[in-house]
Amino acid sequence: MTVLYTIVPLEDVLEGIDDDPAPTMVLKLGGLSLEVEQLDGFQAKVVRLLSTDPEHYLLPHCQPGAVIDLK
């Protein structure tokens, strides 16, 4: 159940909603788990952080959108 309360027209918000999302995988990194989307080569983009330690959510490399070098 989702209710959107926004000034942006609905068709703009939902543009591309039917496209399949990129596949993700869970990466263990330094004791925490990150859900990442594999980019080209040896890089991965953080989609979500899976942790119960709130301090982890302040780490810059765990923010959604951060790119991690897997090399």
Partner: protein
């Protein structure tokens, strides 16, 4: 592992940088996986930008504030004794009503002093988040749109009954009324005003107007916001605006 153990090698900041580089080389990580930096800034800054994303993952063209990341960040800020205050910078077009209300409720119940600053725009669900802080500011040219949920809203998976939307609306209205000085009849009148918005009913408030009706506490920018935070921590400190 061994790269991590040697950040304290003597020789100043140059060797520290080297240790970081070595970390990247040895461990394949951009930054060291250490939660506690030696110096924690007294104020943290939380930006609420774009659409507020809740239960539904929005298409990638939207710039979103992710609810599930913001909530634990607020917990971390509240728990960390070194973080003395939180500045919430709002430039949002709205978004998921429940996620937005959840962020507003978290902010409101925090013991850490909070100041919100509306820059650019704090529309729709941005309004409850702005008023949830201990003190709210709006820049002189920033705007806030007050409008009802039903006309531009989206309901997925529930019967679109009038009562249901009315209840949703009531939660937002009540939150704003309880946490700001705005009067109920003024807010309702603004919400259903016709002629100001093209595809919707509602009101656009620019800077000073939001303060005049009591929605926001003061017109100001970053300087005022930071001195207000400093004042909340040490009431005797100078820098206040009377």
């Amino acid at each position: 592992m061994n790269g991590q153990e040697q950040p304290a090698t003597p020789g100043g900041s140059g060797s520290k940088d080297k240790a970081v580089l070595q970390n990247i080389k040895e461990l394949g990580q951009i930054s060291r996986p250490q939660a506690q930096e030696p110096e924690v800034q007294p104020f943290h800054c939380l930006t609420i930008i774009g659409q507020i994303e809740g239960h539904m993952v929005l298409p990638p063209r939207n710039k979103t504030t992710k609810y599930e990341h913001v909530i634990p960040q607020l917990v971390a800020i509240e728990q960390n004794p070194k973080i003395k205050g939180l500045l919430v910078v709002l430039n949002t077009v709205g978004g998921d009503i429940e996620a937005g209300l959840a962020i507003a409720e978290m902010l409101h119940t925090m013991k850490t002093p909070t100041v919100s600053l509306v820059l650019g725009g704090g529309h729709s669900i941005g309004a409850p988040i702005a008023v949830a802080a201990d003190y709210s500011l709006i820049s002189a040219t920033a705007t806030m749109t007050i409008h009802p949920i039903r006309l531009s809203g989206l309901v997925i998976g529930v019967p679109q009954t009038y009562e249901y939307l009315d209840k949703m609306q009531e939660r937002v209205t009540r939150f704003i009324l309880e946490h700001s000085r705005v009067k109920a009849d003024v807010l309702r009148e603004m919400m259903f005003r016709t002629g100001e918005l093209v595809r919707d009913v509602g009101t656009v408030l620019v800077g000073e107007e939001a303060v005049r009706i009591g929605l926001i506490d003061e017109v100001g920018g970053l300087g005022v916001a930071l001195s207000r935070l400093a004042q909340m921590i040490e009431p005797d400190a100078e820098g206040g605006v009377q």
